[in-house]
Amino acid sequence: MTMLAESFLELNRYRDLLRTWTIREIKIRYKQSLLGGLWAILQPLSVAIIFSIIFSFFVKVPTDGIPHLMFYYAALFPWTFFTTAVTTGSNSLVNNLNLVTKIYFPREILPLSGVLAALFDFTIAFFVYIGLAFLYKVSVGPSIMLLFLLIMIQLLFTISVVLVLAALNVFHRDIRFVVPLGLQIYMYSTPLIYPVSTIPEKIRPFYMLNPMASLIHSYRAILVYGQWPEPTYLLSAFLISVAFLLTAYTWFNKAARSFADLI
């Protein structure tokens, strides 16, 4: 526990680097691509459009009377935040070997920057949600205040996943190939395409142990239905994420001591 506290203090000492490196990640991504910031919007929006077409015309998926595009976008833009963060964050250490082997700084800064840069994209994508909400006249309730709580829980969970994958990637380069596959499988075990109501009641408590399932379900509750999310789901997502983060960070710090030797 003292080791964990020391790591937090050290990270705090280097917060300026975290900030500068995050800005670097964002700038590079936007300078190197033609469409720049539009990518942050295009990715969740195009998938949402495709889903709406498929699941309203070809396969009928019930959305409880909500327009399909709204139903999918509200889940897909937080999901894109997760996948972007995991994809960039898990490669962050391996992509900067020359730094990791030569210069000291808290190693978690690189994966964290990946997550924070994705958070920036998420913010842009949020504005599209606002536009859609006006278009479809979605009635948002006071529960919108909980949005920050959801984002925070998602951050905790995403950071844990990214820390573990980024470190494993240093040890075994195969992780590079495992991540996209894993994300695809994970997508189907999260209520993106279908509403949670389609999951049988008996299995549902176990199904909702997955923090991303609880989160996506809660995003929809807040952003589409204007309802309060179910507190048990949120609480379990929060507790699981915190426990996961503490474990992941402790392990990451232990693993980080040998990064320079292994790379």
């Binding site: 280097y14 300026d16 680097l17 900030r19 500068t20 490196w21 670097r24 700038k27 590079i28 300078k31 190197q32 900067n96 020359n98 730094l99 990791v100 082997t101 030569k102 210069i103 000291y104 700084f105 040890f171 075994h172 380069r173 195969d174 992780i175 495992v178 001591r257 040998s258 320079a260 030797d261 292994l262």
Partner: protein
Amino acid sequence: MAVIEFNHVTKTYQLGVRGSLRETLMNALSGLVRRESDHKKLLNALEDVSFEVREGEVLGLIGANGAGKTTTLKILSRVTYPTTGSVSVDGRISALIELGAGFHPDLSGAENIYLNASILGLKRAEIDAKLGEIVAFSGLERFLDTPVKRYSSGMYARLAFSVAAHVDPDVLLVDEVLSVGDAIFQEKCLNRMKEIRDKGKAMVFVSHNMIAVQNICSRVIWLDRGKVRAVGEPEEVISKYLHNQYFGQQNIWDLEEGEELFRYDEGSVVVEAIRILDEAGESFQTIHGGGSVKVEVHYNAKRQLNSPNVQIYLTDKQHNRLMGSDLARSNYKGQRTISKGEGVVSCTFDAVPIRPNVYYFNVDILEENRLIYRQKDIGPVIVRPDQSASRWEDYNLFDVNCHWELNGRTE
């Protein structure tokens, strides 16, 4: 007070460690059956190394490649950790191990200054305060908004060094950074390091540039395959190291078959040994610039040579001929024949005016202007920097005695 303490540090690397996931899984599976680790090769990069560095002290680390110098720096800067032993460093460390760390080609000069400086451990406010100074030092004011990818490599190095030079650490670690860049750049680096030293900061300096080490260090450690071979005064340790590196224990070149030599006839003359002697007539390994050198060629002629000639010349490591002498064209007035049997021909070079470096002697023997024997790269001969540290002349190609005059009229 010791700023750096390095206590009995051993660093062991496993060679050929974990690669792919498959290997690890296979190892884990086979580990269930039998205890593994019998096929792992271990390498001690450092073995029981101890030293301390006090405030205002500059410790030089010298040694051949793979001696453990870089590992020592990496342990000090916490990039890697010792296998056994302990390390304590008091204060902020800054490591000039790689110039321009974190630079991204698509970002502008100014953006890269912020990036690089924060990686070197500076806070944003500190960078804000130093930005003007850094930019002025680099001389790149007009290109600050230009992406670094459009910079020439010289501009790139200047920007990188300007940032590095303005980090104000308590402990500075410098790796072979000086080997990049031109002479002016290197001198700028050295001057900046001297400034930091004179502020009373502790420094550890790794270099193959013995002049730089001698100029700047107060103490030197010679590392040899992970162990401390010698510690002490720079002059003394550097000499020991250079002796060992170039000579082993011998200082006479007994020439045997198989060495690189050219015989242009049927071995009518064989050179059995070549000795290089200093002013006192002793075999030597290193001399100071400006000293005299005597080259003795011990030959064995199988027959009498008709109008023989001997040429002895000095080359640098790149085989550039620097100076030399020719027996036939010299003012030598004595015996000019080489008859059958053994003998010694020698040439003394007075006050060799060359800068500290490593050189080689070469010997040619001619008969009637035809080359009949050649021995290349005899040596090396090491010319050491003068004892008085930091001689300006050491940076010149030649070290010649000069006579100055200054005449001015007061009006």
